[in-house]
Amino acid sequence: MIPVCRLDDLPAGESVRVDTAPPIAVFNADGELYAIDDTCTHQDASLSEGWLEGCLVECPLHAASFDLRAGRPTCLPARRAVRTHRVTVEDGVIHVHMAAEEGSAA
């Protein structure tokens, strides 16, 4: 469980990048919090810098769009999903629960 920032510091429409390995992007989509892998599955761009509209984020480099709920791309050029991570708020602080690596013992 990784603390991200205070909920107050992430107003609706904003996003923040968490320097985990790999980095994670956390979004406040109209009050709903989502966390996904920050690096676009197409090439090298940070999705926390993307354009947020509803629960879709558009990659700032070649405009692939990802559904924050499942991580799936909704258009090209991305063809693979980003991982999604669970988000909770405890005592006003946003926390990310990193999805266990596939096949790991976690």
Binding site: G50, L61, P73, T74, L76
Partner: protein
């Protein structure tokens, strides 16, 4: 339409094939490409691929699953040699003929070579194809001195990649500044600053007079028009690209620095459309990745409709990665536009690590936007410009999970 043939099996050709299927074309789909490879992506070739491991996979644009789902006949490693519209035939260089009802011209462009003696010496490279990138990468491990001729996007990125590999590089640019034609003097000066900051020597305002070779036929120097001689074991020539229209000579299609088509990508013949770097769409020939991916949707709609039912009003966009900085540009720049740095600062003409956003303004309005490492505000302005221009073409019909 029972058969459609896409000529050119790269970015715009693949997007055209995808659009054909996404828009319901269930006839015979033939894709002809003269490179032996499946469609791959060119932008990485001057960037990460050049500095990557020798056994790194090529930057594929598709995978096995999509490849089979497209249900196309791929004729790879074979050049189309002619188009005979009355006979509805694409002629192949190996003598075969493909009978077809519709044709998508997606043959792109080829790197220009230096039009002077020495242009074919060993150690002299251009960079357009995967094979070019592999050949160049193999030589970048040896020989200490490199000269890049041309400070355009590919030249600048190549110089940046060479510098990243730890090699001494000199860039020779005939214009007073690199990229001045594309970005204007203010932002071209910033790009010149990136070269210097990256430890690359930049010589501007002088052209190349010739290449000097050893007795063994390998290059060992570049002679400049001002008389200087730059020793070099590897020379990369990045002086632009010419559209691949040679195979269309005598086809009745109008050719003038590209295949002429209307703003719906339709040529003089309604059953022939053109997309990507080879297409002069509504008077403009773009050489950008995003144009090559946006045009096919409209082109295929019009091809299947049999007339120009949809028109493109694109907002040009491109990016470039140089010396760790990501440059993004969108809009229509004209000489004389005022450039204003709206976010971030330039110190001695160079951006700091947090980048900057610059607006090109004309008559009180924003006409174009450039950013270095500021993707968020850049996207905002790009979207505003697209809205203001009523730009069409950003969305593809193809879903990522279409297969």
């Amino acid at each position: 339409m029972r058969t459609v043939t896409v000529v050119g099996a790269s970015l715009s050709g693949l997007y055209a094939a995808r659009e054909l299927r996404a828009q319901g074309f269930d006839g015979r789909l033939v894709v002809v490409g003269d490179e032996p490879h499946r469609p791959y992506d060119r932008p990485p070739l001057s960037k990460d691929y050049l500095t990557g491991a020798p056994d790194e996979d090529p930057p594929d644009l598709t995978d096995d699953e999509e490849f089979s789902a497209l249900d196309a006949e791929w004729i790879l490693g074979v050049r189309a040699a002619g188009l005979d519209p009355p006979g509805r035939t694409v002629l192949l260089a190996d003598g075969r003929e493909v009978r077809t009802d519709g044709v998508v011209v997606a043959t792109g462009a080829s790197a220009r070579g230096l039009p002077m003696p020495g242009g074919r010496l060993a150690g002299v490279h251009t960079l357009r194809t995967l094979d070019d990138a592999r050949a160049l990468r193999a030589e970048l491990t040896s020989g200490p001195r490199r000269v890049v001729v041309g400070g355009g996007f590919i030249g600048s990125e190549t110089a940046s990649s060479c510098a990243r590999l730890g090699h001494g590089v000199t860039v020779v640019e005939a214009a007073p500044l690199p990229l001045v034609a594309q970005l204007g003097p203010e932002m071209a000066a910033v790009c010149a600053g990136l070269h210097r900051r990256g430890g690359v020597e930049l010589i501007t305002g002088t052209g190349v007079a010739g290449l000097r070779g050893t007795g063994a036929g390998a290059v060992d120097g570049v002679e400049l028009a001002d008389g200087r001689l730059l020793p070099a074991e590897v020379v990369v020539v990045g002086i632009g690209a010419a559209p691949n229209t040679g195979w269309l000579a005598g086809s009745t299609l109008a050719l003038r620095d590209g295949v002429l088509c209307d703003d719906g990508c339709v040529t003089a013949l309604p059953e022939v459309v053109a997309v990507g770097d080879v297409a002069r769409v509504g008077g403009t020939r773009a050489e950008h990745w995003t144009s090559a991916t946006e045009q096919p949707r409209t082109a295929i709609r019009n091809l299947l409709a049999g007339h120009t039912a949809e028109r493109l009003r694109p907002l040009p966009y491109f990016w470039s990665d140089q010396y760790g900085a990501r440059i993004q540009f969108a809009g229509h720049r004209l000489p004389g536009d005022t450039v204003r740095v709206a976010e971030g600062t330039l110190t001695d003409g160079a951006p700091d690590a947090t980048g900057f956003l610059a607006l090109y303004e004309r008559e009180g309005r924003t006409a174009a936007v450039l950013s270095i490492d500021r993707p968020r505000p850049f996207t905002r302005v790009r979207r505003e410009l697209a809205c203001a221009a009523g730009a069409v073409g950003a969305e593809s019909t193809v879903r990522a999970d279409a297969s």
